[in-house]
Symmetry: C2
Subunit: 230 residues, 2 copies
């Protein structure tokens, strides 16, 4: 049966940690997918620039500005992908704006460190999720989307800045760990809302749980790598 | 006499509208110059991202995000230039942070349109000024600095967004025109403070006025091009 559905074929060029084929039946139309991811990256850029603007040390501002530039380049990569398919980026992104902006408010954080952890953790979860979904896109679009999502977003800089903040204020570790846990639920809700819902949705449910388990496992490693308990 | 002072030699590769040789005696040391320009571009990026974050239409957000990316690339170009000369970007930029941040507050603007016009107008003036100053830098550094400063900062996008706002709210034209006039004085003060002051400063004074006249003439054309009276 898989042989009759080429869009279910998994991509072999990288090992993203989540089997992308699993969610193929739930993958939205290419332009819908690209519009959502393009707007997500733009929103991440905006959230990150707010953190850049309130960074306590110039060295942090500088390091995070590099990360912001990388996120913006990803966003523009997805806009180009939309244009390549003849779509209207503004219209496509606009339909996701209310939901993504509301999400951005919920996960904005009360402090500079919370905001930065939120950008790191929610973006990591969502990018992993959209890599998993990309297996359901047509061959070329899917592999280019997965490639763009896998590009470096300045994670090393963010980890460095967060790690430094935590070392210099050990009380931060427990509040940030708690905050990191709170972010997971809202982020997975946003991810779930991106799934194509059709008559097949119920049969697709069984694919979602294992994928989400993998996303959470990767989240735990991400928290670990900045010295926080997930 | 000019033959004995190679740092006074004007660069021939472009016509920046201001004779760069005029300010050569007042040009600061290369690393001081680069540190100030690098921090200025970083501050412009931050100011522009605040405008991006509060843009009324997603199409404006998208257009201005491209401009923000260009400004950030300029900033990183100057950071690389500092590293090429063996300087410490954070330390060099840091010494200009208080002054440039204070300037950013003064010219921040009360509305979204004022903030955007401010970024456009003050950055244009300061970049023209630092191009004029670059003639006093050693050959390679000076031409690379002038080249970086002349790179597109998404001016077309900013002009488009501002022009659209003005057409849709004609009352804006008079308040923005007034605001544009107010920006000139503070910007030229910041520019003047960048000049190398030494025993020669008084003799250098006679070079400043014609250069500033040219900067103001270019400012007038810049205001004109968004439909505002300077």
């Amino acid at each position: 049966m898989l042989a009759n559905r080429p869009r279910l074929r998994p991509r072999g060029e990288r090992e993203p940690g989540v089997t992308r084929v699993d969610l193929a039946e739930l993958t939205p139309e290419p332009l819908t997918y690209l519009g959502q991811v393009a707007y997500l990256e733009l929103a991440v850029f905006e959230r990150l620039t707010r953190v850049v603007g309130s960074a306590p040390r110039l060295a942090d501002t500088e390091a995070l500005s590099v990360a912001a530039g990388r996120v913006l380049a990803k966003h523009h990569g997805f806009v180009e992908e939309i244009e390549r398919l003849g779509g209207d980026p503004i219209r496509l992104m606009g339909s996701f704006q209310p939901q993504v902006d509301a999400f951005g408010l919920i996960v904005s954080g009360a402090t500079w460190a919370e905001s930065l952890l939120s950008v790191h953790v929610t973006t990591g979860l969502l990018e992993d999720f959209f890599v998993a979904l990309s297996g359901g896109l047509p061959e070329g679009v899917g592999s280019r989307a997965a490639h763009l999502l896998a590009l470096d977003s300045g994670e090393a800089a963010i980890k460095g800045v967060l790690g430094y903040a935590i070392i210099n204020d050990p009380r931060l570790a427990s509040t940030l760990a708690m905050w990191g846990r709170r972010l997971v639920g809202d982020t997975l809700l946003l991810a779930r809302s991106a799934l194509h819902s059709s008559g097949e949705f119920v049969s697709g449910e069984r694919y979602i749980e294992p994928v989400f388990s993998e996303l959470i496992a990767k989240h735990t490693r991400r928290m670990d790598s900045v010295g926080l308990t997930a």
